[in-house]
Amino acid sequence: MSGHVVPKRLYILIFAALIVCTGLTTGVAFINLGKWNTVVALAIAVCKASLVVLFFMHLRWSSGLMRMVLLAAFVWFAILVALTLSDEFTRQWTPVPSSWEAQAQQEAR
């Protein structure tokens, strides 16, 4: 037999934790925490996803090869998000020369 057989009790424990997290994240959404609402919601989502990956998807007992694939995917995703957002949110940092704006207005006419 190949592959790690996980005890049934552990699966049910993980499932219970996932359901509790779902209740928690739904409840927190109705409390005003300002910008922390988003942080808490995403933190709980990451915890839930980690539980699913580690236990349901057996990554805890998988070889380094599978971990590398997942890590690579997340690093690329992080690059995608980080570069896109850093572009969009820093565009206003440098002033636009007034001659450019005058030219754009002229062309629009």
Binding site: S2, I14, K48, F56
Partner: protein, 215 residues
């Protein structure tokens, strides 16, 4: 099934065969992460551009249905994990039972999505391009939110439907006794796929339904 036929000739042993099939599915899931990742990034970006409209959009979704469907999907992940376990232990009856349960929970999710949520949104006039009756100040930005909503949940639901198809094939294969403790790779990698679709929803639920300031 004899262990001699359980092992395909290109592999040295069962361990290597098992590793190769899991590796293939993980690489596929990595491409899926990039696929959904692009959509998520676009959603985050436009949410920041038009925050008030996107928050209004989130509040217009029914959080009770969203939470219920999350629970349904988590249940289906549990039954899928137990199905893989039954296959590992060679328990054919239990394997078919758990696969059937997973199938039913998956259909419940898609059914609720289609019959309760999408139908409701359409009738209320929140379907961009089909039936859009909202006339507020942010109408166009709200339309964009609902475009994202239908596209993200639609692509996710499509993955669920594909998963249901895979489960159907697995149930037929299990019924014909095609799996054994030596060879259950098809069940295992289908499980990986199913759990991945669950994880996508784990992120979609807070991003679409929760972070819109419901207090």
């Amino acid at each position: 099934m004899h262990s001699s036929t359980a092992l395909a000739e290109q592999f040295d042993d069962l361990e290597q065969q098992h590793e190769a099939s899991s590796f293939g599915m993980w690489v596929f899931l990595a491409t899926e992460i990039m696929f959904f990742g692009g959509l998520f990034t676009a959603y985050i970006l436009f949410r920041n551009f038009y925050l008030p409209a996107f928050e209004t959009g989130s509040r217009l979704l029914d959080v009770r249905i969203g939470a219920f469907n999350t629970a349904v999907l988590l249940c289906s992940s549990l039954t899928m994990a137990l199905a893989v376990r039954s296959a590992q232990l060679g328990k054919k009856g239990l394997l078919i039972t758990f696969l059937l349960l997973t199938l039913l929970l998956g259909l419940t999710f898609v059914g609720v999505k289609l019959a309760l949520e999408w139908r409701h949104d359409y009738l209320e006039g929140f379907a961009p391009g089909l039936n859009w009756t909202f006339n507020g100040p942010d109408s166009h930005h709200l339309e964009l939110f609902f475009c994202f909503y239908f596209f993200l949940t639609g692509i996710h639901a499509l993955h669920m439907v594909i998963g249901v198809g895979i489960l159907t094939v697995l149930i037929i294969m299990a019924g014909r006794g095609r799996f054994s403790p030596q060879r259950y790779n098809a069940v295992e990698v289908s499980g990986l796929y199913w759990h991945f679709v669950d994880i996508v929803w784990i992120f979609l639920f807070p991003l679409l339904y929760l972070i819109g300031g419901r207090y």
